[in-house]
Subunit: 703 residues, 2 copies
């Protein structure tokens, strides 16, 4: 990827002398951004533009070319790509639109280009994008017009939309933060966000990466990159509401729409998500400050009202406000003008007109070991004390940078004054209200404190993999779409997941014998693939306490099985021990087309159905990650024991989550499963599966 | 209040020729804002400033004065207020600080001023505020410096903090929206937010009101004003996190911190709350557009990415996107340049360079009956087509205003171009991203569609008020802090709230007789005031099926009562019918020191304790408001019937909420109560209180 951004020569293909020619904007940009390499223009009509000769083909260019930028009608591209190949150009960017975004019939065109790329060993970005910019060397090839109003910043951007990416660049310019590198990836035919992300994470000029995506190419690779990242990654996923409307039939699936999968995956690997540009900008600003390493915050404000607002914001974002040292308070107090203010944290300095003191307060405070960050609200209206105030802003910035401790500075003033300060202190973030500042500091604290547990950290349990594969193989062979309950229970046992004692019966007397073995009372259930919701049709009978009841139940269930056309060679009736007590939870999982296997945990019954109180992770999950899952649900307190109930054996749930995770990783034949309910007993007494549903992948079941 | 804002003459008291004199800024403002009345300066040292003579006292002023603005040290104020009184000045503003905000010892000073005000029949705003501004006549008296960069707008502002209010004014100036009237209310000693709100709601120049409050003076009056308001009211409550940390002991109280009470009250009376200036600005912008009357939205965008983002935002805020008419799509398609875009809603016009067409698309679309609002994203970078783009922005604005149908226009461009447009179209809101625009439209839709139910609409049930008052009177007389369970049940019965059949027993044999009457099985409970959590100490025995069990239970409970020192004249044991089935909910209430009686509803048991799934309203609640409460909780679906369970008798809950509301309104002796659980039976079978706790007000119980 580096070759794209540090190309020493660029050929712009599609230039014509016509005034409406779009490719001319690319040439304009290379000049505007002061590109340090050589530029060649190419266009079938020849001529010249901005003093450059327009070659008729790339092959006419006398020198070697590092990068070609193509903006010609889609149908002309295969020939142009071929000529690039013949010329030995290894990298190109297709900015033209007119591919799969217009319909399936354009896929052929894409294939043609891909096979040429294959043939000549080339890489390209696009099509349907606005290209890339590297602020370090002025390589700027968008056809969308920009003025070069950007500083060389620390943020690099990957955007699937040119328009949204461009809007972000404008916002960064307005904030005086600039950017380092920018790439618009369009249809991602040959280069996707992961390729660029991998490069940006290594790139020296890049301090943080910003992603705008309308789809994810390879979720698992994205996660692996994020796991290893030493830089903050911010991401906006658009196009989520359509996706979340696709509610899958089955139970687990309906609780884990694509939107929730992305949410879970990003959280798991430490990618910070945002929903709008405003909150993104808070996070971007945080990336331009020294890291926040704790939650002890000192607040100073030049307005009492903003002090109150800042205190609320600090509390909202989980910051503590330790007191200022008495000595400092006395010093400040002695220099107040009207002495009508009481000092604390937040410190209200509305009455302080001794402007040198601000710097010293900040310096003193940032030096303290019991303070992790400062939030300062500096109000002035630019009418009086304009010079002094501008000086304070500059001094405070310098102290923050010098001491390398974070200070979020709100400058509350007129629009004009704000812009003056922003311009003067380009590269240093300024905030306009306390809540923004607190949000940014909290974001920094969280990314620097939240421990990430990678896939590699997931432990592997000793399991009976052979029996599991054999069992699944047989089911696949007979074309099953779903495992029978007996098979499901056996599979769980292979993976060391406890199942409530059970037996299958093929006759009334066998049922009675089983019941005697299991011990009364027993539960009995019909087992027929065609019955999905057993309880709804009377297929579950509980609390059977005598042999007569078992006989009657057997007859009832067998008749039911016949009615639903499912009385075959397999036993149709399952008996289970009735288990008293325990809290019902659900542990499940499914295979996402993009992120692969994922596991789900929640409280059982109506908690999951009505309240949707579940959480997801991408498998394999490490033990600590599984612990987080259990603690994350709203109903966690129920597991800890409420109203005098004993605490549930949480450790057993954690292990079950890990074992389900391993099972899904090991056995690609499984599309979806849920253990619902899993009964969790008091501390030390483990948990047991009461019911389990395992659906096979369509590819596996041959349907 | 009008007299404050439309005073024809103003005396500024506290002016001196010294360059650090703060009151000079007030004089500066009256000039800067072009005040249309007469200004007099007053200061003990005399002299002159800006060509005005400085009188030594207000009484020296030869003419009559409508309004005095006082900015002198706090201790000098009583004498100055007295001289204003003697002079016949009926209104004044105290901007000086140094009152109760510094401590209790300053309360005497406040009292002194209040009695003078009483004596002379005056009104005043402050102290500890920055005064008022009326953009209509230039009456601007803050000592905090402002330049007059504001249009005459439609928003009027009441702010408890000068700093926060000033920041809002700056933000409004930056957005080109301006304001109409501004009042900083400080310590609210004589004039509070309600006085000003009442005036602004009547004031012709005011189209919407914005409140920033750190405390609420009279919640009930605020709600009554909001109920009657024909204009949007936006409010920010600060100082909420300290308040919410005060968790009251008792059950209902702990679920309804002050923060939640404010939240509930504002929602109930239609005051729109916001937490930061950014979201406030979205709402303010909405107040500057024609009202949104439905949820059918048409989106156009000049960037495909923003079209996606806009669609997500539209879905997030509950908008529908009806298709554009085929005819319009064909017309647009025929005029696209590269034909590489597919049209729908959102309509991506990135390829449209026929700039006149934008206006006609907007005009056509706003004219449609099946469209309630438009969201337009207009991207340009100010490099090419700058004039055309600015023209489109202007044309679209005109169509919106002419047709009086709402259009939220995002101009996605450079900071500089954005400001050019903002300046040109002052008074018309411009947005910078789709999410802001969708948020604003949604806010407008919601305030114009949500029906508000006032206190007056609460129905009154026929109840046995005499017996209730008699019962309470007796309890108060004996100094009870809490009603006994029997009293509580009787009180519920007085108010027509069904109670599970019960009886009290004073002897073992009486208990058996009661059990026989009630019918087995029964529950038995200890009744001693000193036992708060009966179940925790074994004071609740359930499912008693025989006379022997009842006898044994009686003995156990009486011993327990003795142990807790509560075996007095009253029966110590309660018997209840065991009620099968039903869903447990909680209906409770308490008396807030500010908002007065409020009612609480939630699902019982762990739902309320662990998940906090409750909702609050200020009493009295109308039927429709009570219905909303039931539908609002997350667990509502449980009441509708899940997993084949019958739907609960929701109507009975609604009536119980109303009856508890009436009970709290009628009986000020009650501080707090909860019916927990209230068992709700299937549709048509009503509900019954199983347990009830009623705490008396400290004033009533004499403690």
């Amino acid at each position: 990827m580096k070759g794209f951004f540090y190309a020493d020569s660029v050929a712009v293909v599609g230039v014509s002398p016509s005034p409406t020619n779009l490719a001319r904007a690319i040439v304009f940009h290379l000049v505007e951004f002061d590109y340090s390499g050589t530029v060649y223009l190419v266009g079938p009509r020849g001529g010249s533009f901005m003093g450059h000769k327009i070659y008729r083909t790339v092959e006419e260019i006398p020198d070697s070319v590092d990068l070609a930028v193509l903006l010609t009608p889609a149908h002309t591209l295969p020939e142009i790509v071929a000529s690039c190949g013949r010329k030995g150009i290894k990298r190109f960017i297709i900015e033209s639109a007119g591919f799969r975004e217009l319909g399936e019939d354009r896929l052929g065109l894409e294939q043609e280009i891909l096979s040429l790329v294959n043939k000549y060993g080339m890489r390209f970005i696009g099509p349907n994008c606005i290209g890339i910019i590297n602020k370090e060397n002025g390589l700027a090839v968008p056809f969308m017009p920009f003025r070069n109003e950007f500083n060389v910043g620390r943020l690099s951007i990957i955007s699937q939309s040119g328009g949204v990416g461009g809007a972000l660049l404008n916002a960064l310019a307005a904030e005086g933060l600039g950017f380092n590198k920018f790439a618009s990836i369009g249809n991602k035919l040959n280069t996707d966000e992961n390729d660029l992300l991998e490069y940006f994470l290594e790139d020296e000029g890049t301090g943080a990466v910003f992603l705008y995506l309308e789809g994810i190419s390879d979720g698992r690779r994205l996660m692996e990159l994020a796991f290893q990242a030493k830089k903050p990654i911010l991401a906006c996923m658009a196009n989520t509401t359509e996706a979340s409307a696709h509610i899958a039939r089955s139970h687990t699936a309906s609780l884990s729409s694509a939107e929730e999968v992305v949410q879970a995956a990003f959280q798991q690997c430490g990618i910070q998500r945002f929903v709008d540009m405003r909150s993104a900008m808070d996070m971007i600003k945080a990336c331009h400050l020294p890291a926040v390493r704790g939650d002890r915050l000192a607040v100073v404000s030049r307005s009492g009202g903003h002090a109150v607002v800042a205190a609320d914001a600090a509390a909202t974002y989980g910051f503590q406000l330790p007191p200022y040292p008495e000595e400092l308070l006395h010093q400040v107090e002695s220099r107040l003008r009207a002495k009508v203010i009481r000092l604390g944290n937040p410190m209200d300095l509305g009455d302080l007109f001794d402007f040198d003191l601000f710097e010293s307060i900040v310096r003193n405070t940032l030096a303290r070991d019991d303070i992790d960050a400062m939030l300062m609200v500096y109000n002035y209206n630019g009418v009086f004390f304009q010079d002094e105030s501008r000086m304070v802003v500059g001094a405070v910035k310098e102290v923050c940078l010098e001491m390398q401790k974070p200070l979020a500075l709100c400058v509350v003033t007129t629009d004009e004054e704000f812009r003056v300060n922003r311009k003067r202190h380009a590269g240093f973030p300024l905030f306009s209200e306390p809540r923004e500042a607190a949000h940014a500091l909290a974001f920094s604290r969280d990314i620097h404190s939240r421990k990430i547990f990678t896939f590699a950290e997931a432990e592997e349990f000793a399991v009976d993999g052979n029996s599991a594969r054999q069992l699944l193989g047989a089911a696949v062979l007979r074309g099953a779409r779903q495992l029978s309950m007996m098979e499901a229970f056996r599979l769980l046992s292979c993976y060391g997941i406890a199942v409530v004692p059970w037996a299958a019966a093929s006759s009334s007397e066998e049922a009675v014998a089983c019941a005697r073995d299991l011990g009364f009372p027993v539960a009995m259930k019909v087992m027929v693939e065609t019955i999905v919701h057993k309880s709804d049709v009377g297929g579950v009978l509980l609390h059977l306490t005598s042999e007569d009841e078992v006989r009657a139940a057997y007859d009832h269930l067998v008749n039911l099985a016949k009615e639903y056309g499912g009385a075959g060679a397999e036993p149709a009736v399952l008996l289970q021990q009735m288990v008293a007590g325990g809290i019902e939870v659900i542990v499940g999982g499914k295979r996402d087309h993009n992120f692969g296997p994922l596991v789900l945990f929640g409280l059982g019954g109506i908690y999951v159905e009505v309240l949707g109180d579940v959480c997801l992770r991408i498998a394999p999950v490490a033990r600590a990650e599984a612990e987080r899952m259990v603690q994350e649900i709203r109903g966690y307190r129920i597991l800890q024991g409420v109203r005098g109930e004993p605490a549930a054996h949480v450790e057993a749930i954690v292990e079950t989550i890990q074992r389900v995770s391993q099972l899904l990783m090991d056995l690609p034949e499984i599309q979806e499963m849920d253990i619902n309910p899993l009964k969790v007993f008091p501390e030390g007494q483990g948990c047991s599966a009461v019911d389990c549903r395992i659906i096979l992948s369509p590819a596996q079941s041959g349907r």
